[in-house]
Symmetry: C2
Subunit: 421 residues, 2 copies
């Protein structure tokens, strides 16, 4: 059976609401108390399967040591055929009716560990980080707030998947605490800027995708080439300092407002695992220029949620629920455009979708939009409210594609805000 | 004697107008016909000195293999004390009155080769590339052309060293040919954009500096810390597609207009070698915020030239001659600002100064300014003229600091424009 077959079952018990059934098999990097060296594993139910251990046991036929390292980059460099074959083989090894791993108690003891006992690391070495701006609703909301209510979209937006280069050195894994950044602030009321802690700290709910194959400098990409270069997807929180951004961003774009941290989920869900959940994105009108045109379903039906927990709250409260399918520009269109000038793409490039906002008020992917730039604070259970994030706030994003009786999910990306240093 | 002493002489004959006297000793990466593996060397006169060979001969006391690799990153990671001690030792080995290398014919045959026989590679692994916009003259010229003649500087410019993240994957070494990029173009006359070869291809004359020590996420830098983190400087040509840039850059800044190529010179001149040429930059008014304030001479007196050679010309003609000392924001201020939000800096980060333009008409660092957006084409010997670069044009940048009877220079960064693919 194909590794995406809904009828597949593993000998490992997986609950129906788990993000990690045998149909998912996302890649991550982990270490354990007994072995502190980070290595590549996949998530299955509540367990991590150590792929370095499987390879050492000769159950995976791949170049030596490809999983015995602190990133998935070496594995990604092997290319799409190997990605598919490896996923199929791991699926086979986890099936309820396959004895190779199931009945090898010694190997199971070595290679399977409860996820709660594993330390999860940044899964890839991020070569470059690029962030897009591809939700029409988000771009329209921001445009209406800061530019022109009646005509919020800039003229280029419907023609170009607008994006900018971000900072790769500060991409961190879920659970990493985030210090409130300092920066230059100049509220409209002030005559001159001052330097101090950001007062309008925000999150941006995004999906990131990971480039697993390189392209050469000077080379453009077809839709098919770009598709084949995408290894997988992750949840991404593009932390944003709105007050720093507002003062610094003309004319060269966001810089320090986005440079202090970008958080991603520990598990990279493969493009192949998401295939059953393909759907059409919004109709694109005007038609994109030929180099950006796509055939078929170019988006994914993926539920996304944001929850916030303040120091006074006992459990996180959902503040937004949206869907990746609302994105106007697709990941493939973003990648094709990124390489359109001849920009060389690298194994390990991380591209962010841009804030995922839907059409409804409760589907917005940032506090900037949810609180309409702080003017309509979000009401929280217990009576607190938030215009922007405060010290001690913990933000959690979740995402999954719902199958019939199972879900293919990302786990979560969590980040807690610490006071400025 | 200190390695910067003007009276130092080498047993290797160095002409007075050479960029590479014993007072310079810039680092690069090279290979040869007899040994194709790229390794670290320094330039002395018309020769390259193989530092891997010196280390193998036990003349340099450093960690094994630090120079036997295709980048200077491992050496930079050793820190400023090692940078100084190593430069002092290499200076000692090259002195006219030191016999260790001078009288070791076998080692000289092995370690010293004519530069013309060496292939020069990209000297560093570029971890991140950031480009600034720190010439007041350049920013004013661009502002006057595209925004407001009477008030060309944006309000934030005098307060922030404005910069943006560029694309590290397309930084290339001098001599690399540059294909004219494709992109979305929408001249003011057109109603809708079209996709095709850039029609307004330009260069930007810049100085790049290389970060040789890391900083931690969440950490800010003092002036002194930033100073100590700078390993050295290089010539940088920030190739720019003006027509792509004009259509794409709002609101998130330049993206594909700058992503196709950035060329640097093969030799990294150390910060230490430039010390004798320190000078004051322009007075900064209003005074920078405290975190950006500097004591003492924060710039360098460095002559910079741009020459252009079209296919019809027999030799390159100088089209601009300016000086790095005109830059309003210093390299240290740029680095301090870059880390001010808590952005982690990495060994191998490359930061571009921004276009170096001076106050005079013949001191402008881009064709955009020299031809005033194509309206006043540059006249070339032989009767040709250029508003922007044409296919087959070769652009050469040179830079040096003039001492008494010697100069500390960069060599050149050359790039030839090829037709769009």
């Amino acid at each position: 059976m194909h590794p995406n077959d809904p009828h597949l079952r593993s000998f490992i018990d997986v609950k129906a609401d788990s993000d990690f059934p045998i149909q998912n098999l996302p890649y991550g990097v982990f270490s354990t108390a007994s072995d502190a060296s980070p290595r590549v594993g996949i998530a299955i139910g509540d367990y991590v399967l150590d792929l370095a251990a499987l390879q050492a046991a000769k159950l995976l036929d791949l170049p030596d040591g490809v999983f015995a390292q602190p990133s998935i980059n070496a594995f990604m460099a092997l290319g799409p055929r190997v990605w598919s074959a490896t996923r199929a083989r791991i699926s086979e090894l986890l099936r309820h009716d396959n004895a190779e791993l199931r009945d090898n108690a010694a190997l199971r003891a070595k290679a399977l560990m409860p996820m709660r006992d594993a330390k999860l690391h940044l899964p890839l070495r991020v070569e470059g980080f690029t962030d897009f701006y591809s939700s029409k609703e988000h771009a329209s909301n921001v445009g209406a707030m800061f530019r022109d209510k009646t005509n919020p979209l800039l003229p280029n937006w419907l023609h170009i998947p607008i994006g900018y280069n971000g900072r790769a050195s500060t991409v961190v894994v879920s659970g990493t605490k985030i210090h409130r950044p300092h920066g230059q602030l100049k509220p409209p009321s002030a005559d001159v800027p001052s330097f101090g802690p950001c007062k309008r700290l925000d999150f941006e709910l995004e999906i990131g995708f990971v480039v697993g194959q390189p392209s050469a400098r000077g080379e453009m990409l077809s839709e098919q080439q770009a598709e084949q270069m995408i290894f997988g997807f992750t949840l991404l929180n593009d932390w944003s300092a709105r007050d720093i951004q507002q003062w610094e961003y003309v004319p060269l774009g966001p810089f320090q407002a986005k440079a202090f941290a970008t958080s991603i989920s520990p598990w990279i869900v493969t493009r192949e695992a998401l295939e059953p959940f393909r759907t059409h994105g919004p109709a694109q009108d005007p038609a994109p220029l030929p180099y950006l045109q796509q055939q078929g379903a170019n988006n994914y039906d993926m539920a996304l949620e944001v929850a916030l927990c303040t120091p006074k709250m006992t459990e996180a409260a959902r503040i937004s629920a949206t869907n990746f399918k609302y994105m106007y520009w697709s990941s493939v269109q973003q990648l094709v455009h990124h390489a359109s000038s001849g920009c060389a793409m690298s194994v390990g490039d991380l591209l962010g979708s841009g804030t995922v906002s839907g059409p409804e008020k409760d589907q917005l992917g940032s506090l900037l939009e949810l609180s309409w730039n702080g003017t309509q604070p979000v009401q929280l259970p217990g009576g607190e409210q938030r215009g922007f994030l405060e010290d001690g706030d913990s933000l959690v994003m979740r995402g999954w594609c719902q199958g019939d009786g199972y879900r293919v999910g990302f786990g979560e990306v969590e980040g807690t805000v610490l006071a400025a240093k």
